[in-house]
Structure formats: C-alpha cells, structure tokens
C-alpha cells in the first residue's frame, strides 16, 4: 500500500515527541540501506540547510516618530543609505547598498568593506547604529533633519524580507581569459586556474524538493538563526531541468524563494555581512527548510546525493557578462567537492563559496527544534510554480525611443 502522511499527522508526532527527523545528509545512507519505501515509512521529516551569500536580501525598518516629526525623505544607517520611497519613518535597507563615499572599483579591485549586509549584521548583534535622516518639511512633518543612535530593540519593526534567496542550483564559475577577474563568484584565476561553485548540493533546500511538492507560500523555515516563512517564489524563479545539447538530463535548477521573518529573533552568526573583492557588499544568510515526508515520491527527492546533482560550468570572463548562452559542460557536486574537476582533459582546482559545514549545522539545528517539539510544520497556502509551469526568463532589450 502506498505511503501517505498528512501535515496534521506529522505535526501530531512532532508534538508527542515521536517524529523521526533526519537531515538531508543522514537520510542518504538510510535510503541506500533500506530503500525508498521503508525510509518513507519510518521517517517523518527531512531537514535541509544552506549558508551563503544571498544578495537579494534586506530589511524593512520602522524607526518610530521623533518629536517634532520628520517624514524621512532620505536616511542613512552607519552611512549606508536605505530606501524611503514608502510611508514616513519606514525604510528598506538592502544588503548590497554601499555608502555614497565608498570608492567602489575606482581603486580596482575595490574592497567594499561595509555595506547594507554589514549594517544588518550589526543590527542583529545589538550594536549601536547611527541614524541620519533628512526631509523637506511639511505642515504635518515639520522636522527637516535628525541624527541619533539606535539599536534593533529601539525599532518598532525590523522585518527581514529577501526577494530572492536559496537558489536551487548555481553556476560553477571559471575564467577563460588571460587575466585575474574579480566576480561575485570570488577571485577567478586566469586560463582556467580555478573553479568556484556555490551550493550545499545534497543538503540544499530546493535541490531536495526539486519539483516543489512541499515548499510553498507559508512554509515555516529556519531563517537567519530564527524562524521565518516562505513569502512567495523568489524573483527570477525559473524552475527547470538542466539538459546538455544532446538532451541528457543534469538535474534541477532555476528555482528561488522569497522569504520573510522578524529580524529581532535572528542571530548575527547566521546573517553575516560579506564583501567580495572587486564586486561588492552583500549578506550571507543561513536558511533551512523542513521537508515533510508525505509519500515515497518526496522521499525519493530528498535522498538525492552529490553524485546526482550538477552545476553548469560557465566562463565569467566573457560568456556570463555578455549573456552568451550555453556552458562549458556540467560538473557533479561530488566532483566539485573533491577539490578538482576535469574540463577538456584539464584538472582544475575547485573551491566553494557557500559553507557546507554551516549548511550541515542549519539542518542539524532545524532537526533539533523539530525533535524538541518547538517547531511545527506548516502546510503551504499555495505551492510554487515548478518545472511543469515552464516559466521562461525574459531578457531586457535595449530599445531606442
């Protein structure tokens, strides 16, 4: 008989402390030993995790009203501007925002030592933050400028809202040119001197639910060391199955998530300000998603290993920047994690940009929360589009008037 479990049944087991929870790494050996059916019967939840730079991250802040009031037409937090084109004393601080006086790449490669992501980490660490604001003054908001200091606890709301996180899969970046290049995939040495990848592979959330059978709007998740929720699909959500020119399948890619949560209950070791030499500032985010084992199909998905998952190898010296389609081939995460890949008969050293030990830690913490009955699963209000929806990416064409 087919195995079918409901969210309610799994939550009852969590509440009574009887739920069997494994991480996406631990479940692999169980499935290899007992098979999909037996594993689906015995396991209730599989936890996933990832920790890496996620540029499309930021926080909505409400500062409260000063006396007299100011509308805050422009604000800066520790010198980093935040977007204020919304209601009075609301702002959105983006992870990649830079101080206006940052030299950027004028002194190439720029260091980008402090940006929006660093402010977010300092906020979560309860450090004092300098707030500056200016406005034009109105009858109802007479003040035209202010300067003060605040901590996260002084704010009314601080809501982390990340429009594009948890990329299902990512490129393996290489450099075909004759000079060192500095990218959001790190420093790439000339003439295929190295290869950088950025995924937790077999532990990664969306590689464990490749067809979006369980993750949807309202899914409760581990976000930044606290609890968060899936708000929507992420921007550039183009879930698909990778293929080479001969039609051979190389597994899932293309999905993204938009996630939300209360910054005040998050932790500074899971929201880390990050700088890429020659590229910019960003935020490294710890994110984990529990996957309810509703049936054997879901178990089959979470039993995926690094040997089954592939990253497309892409040249970042030209093909990426010039938007030239195609790739140089695929490398499995098992190969990538071994420290060397083979490309056209050449051995290339590899290094990751996302932390596998931290991904494992996220999955472990989430497992612990569920085992202790502190974290219940939520049934999505609506599932997200999958490869079946065949969403095609649109490009931006440069047109004359």
């Amino acid at each position: 008989m087919a195995i079918e479990k409901t969210y309610a049944e799994i939550n009852e087991k969590i509440k009574s402390g009887k739920a069997v929870v494994l991480t996406a790494e631990e479940v692999i050996s169980l499935v290899e030993e007992k098979g999909i059916t037996e594993a689906a019967r015995s396991v209730d939840v599989v936890t996933t995790g990832t920790f890496g730079a996620m540029c499309s991250s930021g926080v909505f802040l409400n500062f409260g009203h000063s006396k007299p009031r100011i509308r805050m037409q422009k604000v800066w937090l520790n010198g980093v501007p935040a977007y204020t084109g919304i209601a009075a004393v609301d702002a959105y601080l983006g992870a990649t925002e830079l101080p206006e006086d940052d030299p950027c790449n004028n002194n190439y490669p720029g260091e980008f030592r402090y940006g929006g992501g660093h402010v977010i980490q300092d906020l979560v660490a309860r450090k004092q933050i300098k707030l500056e604001a200016v406005s034009y003054g109105t009858d109802c908001y007479p003040r035209k400028e202010l300067e003060t200091f605040l901590t996260l606890d002084d704010l009314n709301e601080a809501t982390l809202f990340n429009p594009r996180n948890a990329y299902q899969n990512y490129n393996c970046a290489v450099n075909l040119s004759g000079r060192t290049i500095y990218t959001y995939m790190g420093m790439l040495k000339p003439n295929l001197g190295n290869a950088h990848y950025s995924s937790a592979g077999q532990l990664s959330p969306l590689l464990n639910d490749p067809y979006f059978l369980t993750i949807g709007i309202g899914t409760r998740i581990f976000l930044g060391g606290g609890v968060g929720y899936v708000a929507w699909n992420g921007t550039q959500h183009f879930p698909g199955i990778q293929q080479d020119s001969a039609g051979k399948s190389y597994g899932p890619a293309g999905g993204t998530l938009s996630v939300i949560g209360d910054l005040k209950q998050m932790k500074p070791n899971w929201l880390v300000g990050t700088s890429f030499l020659g590229y910019g500032a960003t935020l490294s985010v710890g994110l984990g998603i529990p996957i309810p084992i509703l049936n054997e199909e879901v178990m089959r998905c979470v039993s995926v290993t690094d040997r089954d998952l592939y990253a497309p190898i892409v040249d970042y010296s030209e093909a990426y920047g010039q938007r030239i389609p195609g790739n140089l081939g695929f490398a499995s995460y098992a190969e990538l994690k071994s420290g060397r890949i083979n490309l056209n008969g050449r051995e290339i050293p590899t290094a990751p940009l996302s932390s596998y030990p931290k991904a494992r830690e996220v999955a472990g913490i989430l497992k612990n929360w569920i085992q202790k009955g502190e974290f219940l699963l939520t049934e999505p209000v609506k599932l997200l589009p999958s490869y079946k929806d065949e969403i095609a990416s649109r490009t931006l064409e440069i047109k004359g008037i």
């Binding site: 790190g186 000339p190 290869a195 700088s275 490294s284 290094a351 931290k358």
Partner: protein, 133 residues
C-alpha cells in the same frame, strides 16, 4: 638568540637566477630555507633564516638584485569566530596554508605554511583573516 627570519620576494624577471647560491658562495652565509614558492605568475616567495658575518653585505646584494626583503615580523592569523568555512580562500592561497579538510569540508589554516602574502586578507568575504605585527 635564534636567527632572524626574513621574507624574500622575487619578481618573475629574476626568479630563474641562482641568487641564493651567491649568498653562500660570495658572502659565506648560513641559510635555512623554511618555505619557498613560485606562484602562477612566476613570482617567487621565500622565507628563510640567515646568519653569518657578512649578513648586511648579503642583504645589500639581495636588494641590488631586485629582491624585496622584509623581516618576518608580520603574521597572518585566522579569526576562528568570524570564519564561516566557506572555502573561497582555499584555491587562492599559494602555499596551501589554507586548505579544505575532506570530507568535513572545514577550512583549516596551517600557519607554519603561511608565506604572509596576505592575499587571503584581501579576498576573505567575511574578513576573518587578519595581520598581526
């Protein structure tokens, strides 16, 4: 007192010259090479202990040959609390002092192998690599 440790940096134009040999032959210096590396750009780095009566003349000879000489007073260390073990440094570090332990995928730092080139200090995304004087 233990001999002074110095760092020699060779540009690619002189990396193929027998400069260290001259230190022994012409200046009668005792050398103990602790680390030596030639990177992908054919630039060499050497950490050594140097002793002998003609120490100063030997150093002058090195500088005259275009070798940059620095005392090994600087040390790179890793802030363990900041390091996230992302791994971005592990294929950049020219001496293998920073490397990935497998299968744990933890980043390890063997400071004895560090040649203080400080490239990790620049590229570490979370600024976990620091210089101490």
């Amino acid at each position: 007192m233990s001999p002074k440790k110095i760092i020699l940096r060779f540009g690619k134009d002189i990396a193929d010259k027998p400069i260290i040999y001259c230190l022994v032959r012409d200046y009668d210096l005792v050398i103990n090479i602790l680390k030596a590396n030639v990177d992908q750009n054919k630039e060499g780095t050497m950490v050594l202990e140097l002793t002998g009566e003609k120490y100063d003349q030997g150093l002058a000879f090195l500088k005259n040959q275009g070798v940059r000489v620095q005392p090994l007073a600087e040390e790179v260390f890793r802030n363990e609390e900041k390091c996230t073990s992302c791994g971005a440094c592990t294929d950049i570090c020219p001496s293998g002092a920073l490397y990935m332990e497998r299968p744990s995928m933890e980043v390890k730092f063997e400071s004895d192998n560090c040649i203080v080139c400080q490239i990790c200090v620049k590229i570490c995304p979370v600024k976990a690599m620091e210089v101490r004087f």
